[in-house]
């Protein structure tokens, strides 16, 4: 396939130039990953995991590997202002590379810096975790990201340290003249034993007149040590014509808590694979997701919660609001390994269809190999409930307003589970603006 060859060729150039100074373990990792991608190729709709999502448009576009944007072309502070959630620490990336002048890295105890810098400053720490959680042997896009691994966010919180303010990771795409770029941001978030932090990852476009075509292929690995708690928020509000492919893999130790929120508003084609592995007993995981789509947008969320240890609890809620001719895909896999007794796992996926042409595919997938467990799942696809509509109208609320209110409530149900007030307010404004269209 031409597209695969083009990428393997790009990798050779990358390995010879940009990546030539890397330590040998990293070179091996990259070489192994590109070989894996070369073997796997791009997925097709004949593969179960890609049945409802065709990546053909991605293959038809010749993307060039993003380069660091010259300082003179950086977004200015005013560009990032609308995304900021306060004065907490932040990293800003432009086309996948750390924009140091816009960022506030930390190096005292807590480490917050670009992955490229972390590979120089704390190579052992990076090596200990990088690519240890996000498997790529059966995931071509993760393999591709790993082959081109270079920069991204590196967050390390030492044992028993709590960071109160949310850490913001802002990934901005900015147009490059005459070129369609692909960026492979690679993020590593490590919380040691009993550490606590909140991380907000946002993907967006700046200076985006008319909606740029670009491709983000991101991988984020999150490690929560024993007794750690991490609240991860992920907001995808890419340009309407962008492609967004991402993997988020969370690895949880004993008695750890992870709240993972994922909101998807943007991109022409979005695919997000989220996997949480409860590796130690007493782990608690919440997956809370929302996709709001319109026009021709397509978003596919594939989630997997792997109960590998006993006495863990997971709750998963995904709501989709689909208008126009949009297509939402949800696949929710729950795996309960042999011996993972007393597992308590609940999953729901509700899809609201606002137009006749909108479409949703929802697939729960339970694989249970233990006998003393509680697992429930439910999914719905349908228009607004006419009974609820009449109820609201019978209280004096006009029909159009009642529809808006119910649609808003459908999205708010997910947003209300978020603890970061300024982020919730920001997302609330986006949802309201979308409903007013």
């Amino acid at each position: 396939m031409v597209a695969v060859e083009r990428l393997v060729e790009a990798y050779r150039a990358f390995a010879a130039n940009g990546a030539s100074g890397a330590p040998s373990w990293l070179k091996e990792l990259r070489d192994g990953a590109i070989a894996c991608f070369d073997t796997l190729g791009f997925p097709t709709t004949k593969q179960e995991a890609w049945r409802f999502t065709s990546v053909a448009p991605l293959l038809d576009t010749p993307f060039e590997l993003a380069k660091p944007v010259p300082g003179t072309r950086y977004p200015v502070p005013a560009d990032i202002e609308p995304f900021l959630l306060g004065t907490g620490p932040r990293l800003v990336f432009v086309n996948g590379f750390l924009a140091r002048p816009l960022s506030t890295p930390l190096s005292d105890g807590v480490r917050l810096d670009g992955l490229a810098q972390a590979l120089i400053d704390t190579p052992d720490l990076v090596r200990q975790h990088l690519s240890k959680y996000a498997a790529f042997t059966d995931r071509p896009f993760a393999a591709l990201n790993t082959a081109f691994v270079r920069d991204g966010a590196f967050v390390h919180v030492p044992a028993k340290v709590t960071i109160e303010e949310p850490i913001q990771l802002l990934f901005l795409a900015t147009p490059v003249d005459g070129v369609r770029v692909v960026a492979h941001p690679r993020n590593l978030i490590v919380l040691e034993r009993e550490a606590r932090a909140t991380v907000v990852e946002t993907y967006a476009a700046v200076d985006d007149k008319g909606g740029g075509v670009y491709w983000t292929n991101a991988v984020t690995e999150v490690v929560a040590g024993d007794g750690a708690r991490v609240d991860c928020y992920r907001v995808q509000r890419e340009s309407d014509r962008a492609y967004h492919v991402a993997v988020t893999d969370v690895h949880q130790g004993r008695d750890s808590t992870v709240n993972l929120h994922a909101v998807s508003f943007g991109a022409a084609l979005a695919r997000h694979d989220l996997r949480g592995t409860l590796a130690g007993p007493g782990g608690y995981l919440i997956l809370n997701g929302l996709y709001v789509l319109a026009g021709e947008q397509h978003a596919d969320h594939h989630t997997a919660i792997d109960h590998a240890a006993p006495h863990c609890e997971s709750h998963e809620y995904f709501n989709g609001v689909l208008d126009g001719r949009s297509h939402g895909v949800f696949n929710g896999r729950i795996i309960v390994r042999p011996g993972a007794q007393k597992t308590d796992s609940k999953q729901t996926n509700n899809n609201l269809l606002l137009s006749r042409e909108a479409h949703a595919d929802s697939q729960p997938q339970l694989e249970i190999y233990a006998d003393d467990v509680k697992c429930t799942h439910g999914s719905t696809v349908g228009p607004l409930d006419p009974k609820a509509l009449f109820y609201l109208r019978s209280r004096g609320i006009g029909e159009a307003e009642a529809r808006r209110l119910m649609t808003y409530g459908f999205a708010a149900e997910i947003l209300n589970r978020m603890d970061v007030a300024p982020l919730r307010a920001q997302l609330d404004r986006i949802v309201r603006a979308r409903l007013a269209e």
């Binding site: 109820y391 109208r393 209280r395 004096g396 307003e401």
Partner: protein, 251 residues
């Protein structure tokens, strides 16, 4: 206040109301009793404007206006209220947000300024105090996870806040234990006013032990077959509905 004449109503091709006549004056409390399937709930739903029902004949005049020509929201804005037999869940919307939206829709219609969240909270607290309830239901999504009693209480709370001129209560007593029934009845009694009328639909007489109606009607097979004073309810409790149904067939 309300004048229903010869009202005939069908749903999905089946006639349920077969010529109902009902006149309710300002300040009156009317009870409508009757066996299951007699059309009691249909009557309240039709008066509130439920789109699933088709009116095939008759009229309903409210305050001199043709009620049947108004949309459900317009009826509510004119002061009509239906306490649902099965209140509906509105996911993601808190009770207080929902109630404020409803209050503001009514205020806007009356040319009054809309209430901001703080003003509304004040109004709400006054209303809760007046009926002796607390605000535990207010920050939960509308009816979601509510017990049967909480749902019914929530309907009466809406009635108190929206201050309708004509309140239709559809089997508000069903599914309530005796304590919950008393709580709801006491709240309704506090809301009785010279310019507010009630039509209370019930299958059982027990609610009428706590709310004394001015008029009691018996609805059977889609028609009002008997009307009388409060004592009629006691008679029905003792004798059941069959004697009236047989009579209705004959007439």
């Amino acid at each position: 206040m309300l004048d229903v004449k010869g009202l005939r109503v069908s749903v999905a091709g089946t006639e349920i109301l077969r010529g109902v006549d009902l006149t309710v004056k300002a300040g009156e409390v009317h009870a409508i009793m009757g066996p299951n399937g007699s059309g009691k709930s249909t009557l309240t739903q039709v008066l509130a404007g439920h789109p699933a029902y088709t009116v095939t004949a008759g009229t309903a005049t409210y305050d001199g206006k043709d009620l049947l020509a108004l949309k459900p929201e317009e009826r509510a804005r004119e002061g009509l209220f239906l306490a649902f037999q099965y209140p509906v869940e509105i996911r993601g919307i808190t009770n207080s947000y929902f109630l404020r939206s409803a209050v503001n829709a009514l205020r806007k219609h009356r040319g009054q300024e809309e209430l901001d969240p703080l003003d509304f909270l004040q109004v709400l607290e006054e209303k809760l105090k007046a009926i002796g309830w607390d605000d535990t239901l207010m920050n939960r999504p509308v009816n979601e996870g509510f017990s049967g009693g909480e749902k019914k209480r929530n309907e009466i709370l809406q009635l108190a806040v929206l201050e309708p001129r004509l309140a239709l209560l559809d089997e508000t007593d069903s599914g309530l234990d005796i304590d919950a029934l008393k709580t709801v009845a006491q709240a309704v009694n506090k809301l009785r006013a010279p310019d507010r009328s009630f039509v209370i639909v019930t299958h059982y007489q027990r609610l009428l032990n706590f709310i004394t109606p001015d008029v009691v009607h018996v609805l059977a097979d889609g028609r009002i077959v008997k009307s009388g004073g409060p004592e009629l309810a006691h008679e029905l409790e003792a004798k059941g509905y069959d004697w009236l149904r047989a009579g209705a067939m004959v007439s």
